[in-house]
Symmetry: C2
Subunit: 315 residues, 2 copies
Amino acid sequence: LVFSAVSAICAPLASWNDGPAKQAIETFVKKVTDPDGKDFVSPEQRIAVFDNDGTLWVEQPMYTQLAFALDRVRQLAPQHPEWQENPLLKAAIEGDMKTLAASGDKGLLELVTVTHAGMSPAAFQQIVTDWLASAEHPRFKRRYTDLVYQPMLEVLAYLRENGFTTYVVSGGGIEFMRAWSDRVYGILPAQVVGSSIKTRFEIVDGKPTLIRLPEVNFIDDGAGKPVGINEHIGQRPIAAFGNSDGDLQMLQWTSTGAGPRLGMIVHHTDAEREYAYDRNSHFGRLDKAMDLAPAEGWVLIDMKNDWKDVFPAAK
Amino acid sequence: LVFSAVSAICAPLASWNDGPAKQAIETFVKKVTDPDGKDFVSPEQRIAVFDNDGTLWVEQPMYTQLAFALDRVRQLAPQHPEWQENPLLKAAIEGDMKTLAASGDKGLLELVTVTHAGMSPAAFQQIVTDWLASAEHPRFKRRYTDLVYQPMLEVLAYLRENGFTTYVVSGGGIEFMRAWSDRVYGILPAQVVGSSIKTRFEIVDGKPTLIRLPEVNFIDDGAGKPVGINEHIGQRPIAAFGNSDGDLQMLQWTSTGAGPRLGMIVHHTDAEREYAYDRNSHFGRLDKAMDLAPAEGWVLIDMKNDWKDVFPAAK
Ligand SMILES: [Ca+2]
Ligand SMILES: [Ca+2]
């Protein structure tokens, strides 16, 4: 009752134009919450998973976490003259994006281990929080946490008002996202699934401590997403939102179960208000998942036509 | 308001005798839930973690999951004549506990990979569910899921009624526990942290599938418990319940934060109604954590004197 009242006052999905995408969300939610319907799903089974980069916030001209890693390399470089001998780190310091891009996933991973390890998870989150408080997106000149998609914030709220538990399931770093997911998305640390480096518990000067190690623990992308979902959530979601081929297996896994399922793909079609990209993008490539969408029943969200606003209004 | 009413009707902690243990729980909960007190903790920070074997259910004469693995080896043995060539599996088939015990953790792990892998998590949980429906504890002649500690069920309910989220954090298998944790403890799959084997996503005959692999992924015991807590929960708990040295680091990690903390240890002192064991037990050895308890402020629960009943009444 309380939830219904709130939802009525706040006009759910207010930033969505009427159209097939908005309708797909509303129809699905009505189905699974109707206690008299054949498609009713009990609240503890109402699990919805959301990719992060390009689904909940901007991922161009590069992943925000990569922008963070590059800033961090530059900030720490004066204390590490030896980094000048490392071609990758030298490229990062000098902003040589061509060399960085050519280094591929391996280079990205090396950047992450150099910049994300050696401290506790709490200390790392503080570093992320401090960076987010000052870093600015190169095109929009706003904080990265302001460049979240207003219509998707409304989907998160709408689903939670209807008894869903919402999870982020991202290839991004789990602790990087936990630093702000509660504040920005209303998603608690325990509901964040992501890639991780290993962590070790030890007693340092008599004090119990967790230390982040420069070693990959888990890559929560592609076929890793259903694995991460199983490990953290232990139930199959009934709704999944993604934007790239990295979400393909998560969409497949979510769509396979019995009963109604919702699979949606944010299609970046709005070069004016945000970006337009799909099959040929370096970040957030959408190709195979788009081809499979019609047969699988996944609904594309056409950013340009489905969204009244893209970002929250500037304060 | 609803919660308070339920709690008043059900008389929280009804199976606890008045004494320091019951008092420690009640005092702690009153402190952290008093909105006007200096020790108030917001609901999303009220995280309580519970070891499973020996803390929530019986672990003698052997871990229940080991009893399951042995039954499973015996059940599958006719299809695997080659197991007769393997001394460990032969010992399991013949119930030769001496050889099994001598094989140590390495042997235990081999038993687990042989019996727990090769199927989907859902299929594995069904196997566990079927086993629990018929297996009987050798001494009490009851289902294992009936041999949970009634006073601890009351602690779980009492904490949840007071806005806590309760987690199981166990060295036992995460999927083994998820098969029944909701039904028996009211703890959803996403709130179960445990040891795991690796899982792989693949498309089998066109169907998205998760397969459990015979390879260890994570051991959630000892120094692994704070690591598992960090990975799954992403917040430091404010209350921890354990019963052995495998919970030592979880207790240390929980006790270190600012503000009020509750650390409790179930001490098995009741040979008549359950078992009496601590420093010399093969399963659930309690030695170092007991020595450190007074200085750390951890409260021992004296099963014999603190608990009116041990198990729920037989139906
Ligand atoms: Ca993405
Ligand atoms: Ca235990």
